[in-house]
Amino acid sequence: MRRQLARIAVRHLGRHPWQLGLTVLGIALGVAVAVSIDLANESARRAFSLATVAVTGRATHQIVGGPSGLLDDFYRVLKVELGVRLAAPVLSGDVAAVDRPGRTFTVLGVDPFAEAPFRPYLSDESGGAGSSAPGAAAGERREPPPRDRLSTVAALVTRPGAVLVARPTAGELGLAVGDRLAVRAAGIRRELTVVGLLDPGDLASARALDGLLVTDIASAQEIFGAAGRLGRIDLIASDDAAGRALLERIARALPPGADLVTAGARAGTTAQMIRAFQWNLTALSLLALVVGMFLIYQTMTFSVVQRRPLIGALRALGVTRAEIFALVMTEAALIGAVGTAAGLALGLGLARGLLGLVTRTINDLYFVLSVRDVDLDPLALAKGVLLGVGATLAAALAPALEATGAPPRVVMSRGALETTMRRMVTRVTWLGLGLLAAGAGILALPGGIAGGFAGLFVLMVGSALVAPAAALGLLRLLQPAAAAAFGTLGRLATRGIVAAFSRTSVAIAALMIAMSAAIGVGIMIASFREAVVSWLEGTLRADIYVSAPSLVGNRPDATLEPALVARLAATPGVARAGTSRGVLVPGPGGPVQVVALDVDPARPPRWRFREGSADAVWAEGGEAAIVSEPYANRRGARVGDAVRLRTDRGERDFRVGGVFYDYGSSAGVVVMSRRTYDRSWDDRKISGVAIEASPGVDLGTLMAELRARAAGDQEIVVRSNRALREASLAIFDRTFAITGVLRTLTVAVAFIGMLAALMALQLERAREIAVLRTLGLTPRQVWGLVTAETGLMGLLAGLLAVPGGLMLAGILVFVINRRSFGWTMPIDPSPAILLQGVVLSVLAAVLAGLYPAWRMARALPADALRDE
């Protein structure tokens, strides 16, 4: 019996290849989007974590310096005077290869002799490869590190610019021991020499070491022009009384401006930011899957309804409800399995494409990351399987339960079903309203990003459930208009939708969700962009901007030589040169990005303030600062509060004069005047120069002159106001490129859903159409009728998507963005986007209806009627 049921399932699926194919495609797309985002995220995350492990090693704590780093004498104090054994100096930074455009490396400057406990892969005691050298200096055992291994380390220490590279990286770059590699650090060209290769012990290590240039701390200081300074000192402290006592002792000896933090605190902060960004992508990717679920629900409902007579007969033959339930679920599982398998394959391909976009954004915003291959994370794949099959089964639950309700031998008319359906609409609507209220409640509660997305999803599902009732209401309103416009055909079209509401409502709801997402995300991006444009306008007030090339899009980590800045400022035609300096400063609540501006008090940046103002900042004296909105949101700072920062004079409080809207850093920034900064820090470096040209000076000529003045010294980036603005917007657009892709994919799934629904519907209505044909409707009129119907469905979905999209945009802007990135922006519901959504919805529906309509119109009425 069971085998026969299975055969029934298979045969039924086989008889409707179109239906089957579209459903499988829909599931596959949904799964593919979710899996690809997951894989891309996971690959980027693992690359990040590996990169962090490679440079953090086994350190438990770190001593970090202020803006100008740590004086390296403190390392001697630690080792010689305090007798701290497990301490290792580190100076790392990013460099760009000169001969390989776009290729970046992280230079990790360490003391190889202090490395063993921290990054054993760098030490000369890790065993393995080196000991194979045949009996080199066998007798010299009294001098400890074996001579052969030592010789590589010796070369690393004694040769300026000597680096170690992982063997796979060297192979890929065609580098061998002894080869030279030219790089640029903050625009200054440095020659490096490969003196040794690191053999990664496993695949994960190979990835961790990829793109890493290990060098001696002396060379690192020279590469980054930071003689006398360390980036940090790594420490290992045991987690016991002795370890705590050690940390205590170190903390007491810290120079002003330095801070003792747990290892990975910085990486942790960055990881958190990246995670927020990735959550957003994941949530968007799930939207496609949810839309896909509607498609499955629809297909399964359709197949159940179509076979009501058969199911009734089976029941009469003694097939139990449980078996019927199993039959439907088996069908769903089959579809789900095939769709998921296809989705995984598709997802892998898609992930390769998306990875570039994800990595690009991370590089633009957070961290120099080189990920070049998708990590086939088994967990992500397993999640994909669970999602695909799970979603299919979940969506099939309702139709399966519905099927078990078919009484034996009774053939229920579709009319009766539709009546039941309309009764059900009421209940579903109430359920939807309940969910809407629940979703609003979840959003009102204080919660993290997870809470935001939970609320968002509940609201989306709620609105999908309310959609059928709303569609009926709308239809009633549209009916007279349709009748007036298209006469009987118009009336027929509206009636057709209502008559087959069990099918049409689901299609409308699915399309509505997809279009809401499209509209919501579109409004969010547009509002965001608008906010960024006006922010850039307020921020960029000078004519020309000069900076050192930085490898992270929005992070000014490279500095300009002060002598060069003076030379640039003295260029004829320069009316005023204001400087900026961006630094990371240790603070009690983690590192804080501080921007010190030397601006003309008469022409300060024109930021928009949420509260307070910048007056106190530009005025003489006073320890005032303004904070960006993300900073205020993340740390709960308000006007009148104090921001406590660790300065080179010890901890100091800076009074918050205002909170301004800023989209430059999602970690938040504290802005102060250069004078205030100089009073607290001994850092004289400059990150960027803003130049105002004298009236009448040709900007192009002046820029050329500025470049000429820097030639041969340091490679600098000279950009006009407009070029910088365009570059900033280009980064913005790049950041949202992936969002746009996801939005398109979601609409694609909805389109397939629509196509599947219409195909099924039109095929089912063959007889009805045949009757209409015999009553004298021409094929052309049939085509018109069907197209009108589908267009109307698209219009309904599109109209309903307007409030849905606005709701979504509001949540994205005020809840998700605020919770993920800390910033908010005025929402800008441009009518163009709304209109675009509605038009797109109608177009999608009409397009989806083209083929079914063409088939209906071509069908011979006699054939359809003969089936009776």
């Binding site: 693992r46 390296d72 010789s151 220490v157 496993d202 001696d216």
Partner: protein, 393 residues
């Protein structure tokens, strides 16, 4: 169950599933292997980098005049150098401790090969490695620690006047212009020494007026002198207590560029201080085939400092026992009979503890020993240190 109810149940179930699906999708992924276990890699060694390149270094070719205190300081023109302090100490109650504090200097590059001026103060051409070991005989514990730093930023270094050699927080230092007495300080965790050493005898120039040949090839030799009898006084910290101690120490100073030929695998070195005021140093260079090399040598130092050299044939040294290290699995000789027929010495040498093996970087055995035997037929006792290098290779 009515149809609508059924459908509603199904719908509710579907909604719950959507939640579950969202939860699955947002479930954080597993940490990568490297996230947990750390990055694994090894440094590939390239022969192209000229391992054992001796060019640019001075060689020990001929005897040279020694001049103190200048020669207590470093000789950077040679590749390798060490300051080697060992000693046996006792508390007033007779509790015995052995200590070893060694500073090794290794040139990372010949002075000529090092870039003249570099911007970074970290640039260095010398590397210092220090070993500190404490034998707590009563507590039956052996502690060994090490320090490694470059000669830069004051992290490590050596100078003659005033005498100071240090690696991080361990040092041998003298306030006197003569370089003596010298204060030794080293420690880590709950073991430490703080000792002042004064020399009871003049410096002994080993080998041929301080040129100690280790092989037939000219230049395979070191400059080598010893302070064979230094009275030591100070404190030892062990087992959570500070112990005032006194005793006898020995200092070996040696510098060279290339000492051992390729056919030698290691050596046994003994430095003994006898109760009759005589001191005895013997080293036996071991060949690959296990035999003692012809360049094995030693010295017998009389109470007044007069030194008589010993050649291979003057000494017999037989291992009476062996000890296998539980950590390295290496089998070391562990008790010896040493006879010097020419001086009527017949000594049995016993380690204070069997386990005095150092595994802090390179592996070797260096331990305090007790000496009993006869001198010209009369019983004699003593103390000393034995070093066993190159076993288990």
């Amino acid at each position: 169950m009515s149809r609508t109810k059924r459908a509603a149940v199904g719908l509710a179930a579907a909604l719950v599933s959507v939640g579950a699906i969202a939860a699955i999708a947002l479930w954080p992924g597993g940490e990568g292997a490297a996230g947990r276990g750390g990055v694994q890699a090894s440094l590939a060694v390239s022969a192209a980098l000229g391992s054992g390149d001796l060019a640019g270094f001075a060689r020990a070719m001929a005897p040279r005049p020694f001049s103190f205190p200048a020669d207590h300081g470093p000789h950077a023109e040679f590749r390798t150098e060490w300051w080697y302090y060992t000693g046996n100490l006792e508390t007033s109650a007779g509790r015995h401790f052995g200590f070893q504090l060694t500073f090794f200097r290794t040139a990372l590059a010949s002075p000529a090969a090092v870039a003249a001026t570099r911007a970074s103060a970290w640039s260095a051409s010398q590397l210092y490695l220090a070993h500190f070991a404490l034998t707590d005989t009563a507590g039956r514990r052996f502690h060994a620690r090490s320090r490694l730093s470059r000669d830069a930023l004051g992290l490590a270094g050596a100078r003659a006047i005033p005498f100071h050699v240090w690696t991080e927080d361990w040092s041998a230092e003298s306030e006197a212009a003569s370089g003596l007495p010298v204060r030794l300080r080293a420690g880590e965790g709950d073991v430490a020494i703080d000792l002042v050493l004064a020399s009871d005898k003049p410096a002994v120039l080993q080998g041929d007026r301080g040129l100690s040949r280790k092989g037939p090839e000219p230049g395979n030799a070191s400059y080598y002198y010893s302070l064979s009898r230094m009275s030591a006084r100070g404190t030892v910290r062990a087992g959570g207590e500070s112990h005032p101690v006194s005793g006898l120490a020995w200092m070996d100073r040696e510098w060279s560029t290339s000492a051992l030929g390729p056919d030698l695998v290691g050596w046994d070195w003994l430095a003994l201080q006898l109760d009759d005021g005589r001191d005895l140093m013997v080293y036996r260079l071991r060949r690959r085939d296990g035999a003692a090399d012809a360049h094995s040598a030693g010295a017998l130092i009389a109470g007044d400092g007069a030194t008589g050299p010993l050649a291979l044939g003057d000494v017999t040294l037989d291992a009476l026992d062996h000890w296998t290290s539980p950590r390295s699995g290496v089998r070391y000789p562990s008790r010896w009979r040493l006879t010097i027929p020419g001086s009527a010495l017949d000594l049995e040498i016993t380690p204070r503890l069997a386990d005095q093996e150092l595994i802090v970087g390179p592996r070797y055995w260096e331990g305090a020993v007790r000496v009993e035997g006869t001198a010209a037929g009369r019983p004699i006792a003593g103390r000393g240190y034995v070093e066993l290098v190159g076993y288990g290779e």
